[in-house]
């Protein structure tokens, strides 16, 4: 068990890096997912087709393939994803600004993949709003934009929280893949490093890594359960 104490800083560093990926990817995926969701419910057919196509492509592709695209396809196009070196953000999330691009590649892949699920969660919320609400708004003469802004979205938000939370939990777990795509030092890469190259005993390392992920996923899951139960009572 000594490895847990001796290497505590390694575990903590890995946890922090994984948390960084998760926060940045969650923000990115929520923004992109919201845009795609708007595309999917817009009245203009080509935009709708674009949104639907995006969701179908990314939802049915393994994240691994998206990661490979990002990690091998982008360099083949001569891109290092430098547009993600955002001046203020990279002082807080130091990996954004490093010369090794793998953190940025993993981030892009995670955002692209998760956005499809965020879109579906948001849309399921819109679908959960009773049709009569939107009809009533229309009969009052509200336009499409007003209808969404004042009537549908405030209600759909409530119904989307639980599915959105599940998507975020899944994303946290998916971020473990980043460690196998050259992002050195996150939790899963730490597991590989400690048990492989440094030859520590397997069980304590596995426990430490597992705790790292469970700290993030279990409380979030419990919170969601609670919200779900409260909503079930409220309805």
């Amino acid at each position: 068990m000594n490895v847990l104490i001796d290497k505590f800083d390694v575990f903590a560093g890995g946890f922090w890096l994984t948390l960084q990926i998760c926060i940045l990817a969650a923000i990115g995926a929520l923004v992109l997912g919201a845009i795609v969701a708007v595309l999917r419910i817009s009245p203009v057919p080509p935009l709708r087709a674009l949104g639907t196509g995006y969701v179908n492509v990314f939802r049915n592709m393994p994240l691994t393939v998206v990661m490979f695209f990002a990690a091998f396809g982008l360099p083949a196009l001569g891109s290092n994803a430098d547009f993600l070196r955002i001046p203020v953000l990279d002082s807080l999330f130091t990996r954004l600004g490093t010369d090794l691009p793998y953190f940025r590649f993993a981030l892009i892949a995670l955002v692209l993949y998760t956005a499809a699920f965020v879109c579906e969660a948001l849309r399921s919320g819109v679908n959960a709003v009773p049709a009569g609400q939107a009809e009533a708004a229309r009969s009052l003469g509200l336009t499409f934009g007003q209808n969404l802004r004042y009537v549908v979205l405030p209600q759909s938000w409530k119904a989307s929280i639980v599915p959105l939370g599940s998507v975020i939990i899944a994303m946290i777990k998916n971020s473990a893949l980043a460690g196998f795509f050259g992002v050195a030092g996150d939790l899963s890469a730490t597991a590989d490093q400690l048990t492989g190259a440094e030859g520590y005993a397997f069980v304590p390392v596995a426990i430490g890594i597992s705790i790292g992920y469970l700290i993030m996923t279990v409380p979030l899951g419990a919170l969601l359960d609670r919200i779900e139960k409260r909503q079930a009572v409220a309805r």
Binding site: I41, P43, V44, P45, P46, N56, V57, R59, N60, M61, P62, L63, T64, V65, F68, F69, F72, G73, A76, L77, G78, S79, Y113, F117, A121, R123, S124, V126, N127, A131, A134, R138, F144, N147, V152, V162, P163, S166, V167, A170, K173, N174, S175, A176, L177, F180, S188, A191, D192, G196, A201, F202, V203, A206, I209, S210, Y213, L214, V218, G221
Partner: protein, 323 residues
């Protein structure tokens, strides 16, 4: 488009139709121009559209064509094999887990009258502990990324003197994660059934085991079928994680091909299309089953239950997890 979203706007009149048509054309043009500048141009400038790179994959007269597709076919066969075995195993284990958790839950409530008091307390304590243990196991394995489960199996089993093929490590890793998820799907399905079902079963004298086997499980399977099919999609996507333990599935074969042909974008496009076709049909099947079940339930006049939330949530995984 579903009927639900079109409720957001009126049936368009002539003016609105004109506006929609114009904005459609504008949006279409913008999208095409965007696609040209953001996708076609960078690809073309870097020579990624040349026949040299695409040839082995799409040109049957290319010398490498048959060999390449033989390899991809092998990889895909391995992927399907691992996915099939994992889903069958996780269905079996998941069902057992669901039944176990339901039984333990009913055991907690039992008072064990008829046996001596200390024994009764012992039995109650035991069932409480067992219930807590299964609960913790479920929470832990559900909260861990499936990559790590596979990785832990592949690294951990040899430490305890268990040596298998990489294939079995992958299947075991996938089974551990997915049986827990399927177990939870089935359990919530059984608990979501109307209470009258179990009561009626008890009233006609079925034992708890019989009730579960003959009344609850078949209905839970039926209600949760869409969610289970979506889980199949997740398993299929998750088999691609076999590359971390160098199991020869589609992606790993793709990596080997790239090592020889050095055309990463092209190979991954082909692999992505393969996955999308298979998974898209499976998702469509899940939707179809869900619609049929909804129709069947309506005619039968039983209260409607809502699996969609579970179906949607379980789809969120894939390539690394779900919930």
């Amino acid at each position: 488009m579903s009927q639900q979203t079109s409720v957001l706007y009126d049936v368009p009149g002539p003016r609105q139709r004109r506006i929609t048509l114009i904005s459609s054309i504008v949006a279409g043009v913008v999208l095409l121009v965007g696609a040209y500048f953001l996708i076609y141009r960078p690809l073309d400038e870097n020579g990624q559209l040349s026949m040299e790179l695409w040839g082995p994959l799409i040109d049957p007269s290319n010398e490498n064509f048959s060999q390449v597709w033989e390899r991809i076919g092998l990889g895909f066969k391995n992927t399907l094999l691992a996915a099939a075995l994992a889903i069958v195993a996780s269905l079996a284990v998941g069902t057992l887990l669901a039944v176990l958790r339901i039984q333990l839950k009913s055991l907690i409530r039992r008072r064990f009258t008829g046996v001596a008091t200390p024994v009764a307390y012992l039995l109650r304590g035991l069932s409480r502990v067992l219930s807590a243990v299964t609960r913790v196991c479920v929470e832990v394995f559900r909260g861990l990324p499936v990559v790590l489960t596979i990785f832990f199996v592949a690294r951990g089993f040899p430490e305890f003197g268990l040596y298998f093929d990489n294939f079995w490590y992958l299947v075991i890793g996938l089974t551990i994660y997915n049986s827990v998820v399927i177990g939870e799907i089935l359990r919530s399905g059984m608990e979501g059934l109307p209470g009258g079902q179990a009561e009626a079963a008890a009233a006609i004298g079925l034992s708890p085991a019989q009730t579960t086997r003959m009344i609850l499980l078949p209905q839970a399977f039926r209600v949760m079928l869409p969610a289970l099919i979506s889980q199949l999609v997740v398993v299929l996507k998750d088999t691609s994680l076999g590359f971390i333990i160098s199991y020869e599935e589609t992606l790993n074969i793709g990596k080997q091909l790239i090592g020889v042909l050095s055309n990463p974008i092209q190979v991954y496009v082909v692999i992505a299309v393969l996955f999308i076709v298979v998974n898209y049909s499976l998702s469509k099947l899940a939707q179809y089953v869900q619609r049929r079940l909804a129709r069947g339930r309506k005619t039968a006049g039983t209260p409607a239950q809502n699996p969609p939330a579970a179906a949607l949530i379980s789809q969120a995984g894939g390539g690394g997890g779900g919930n």
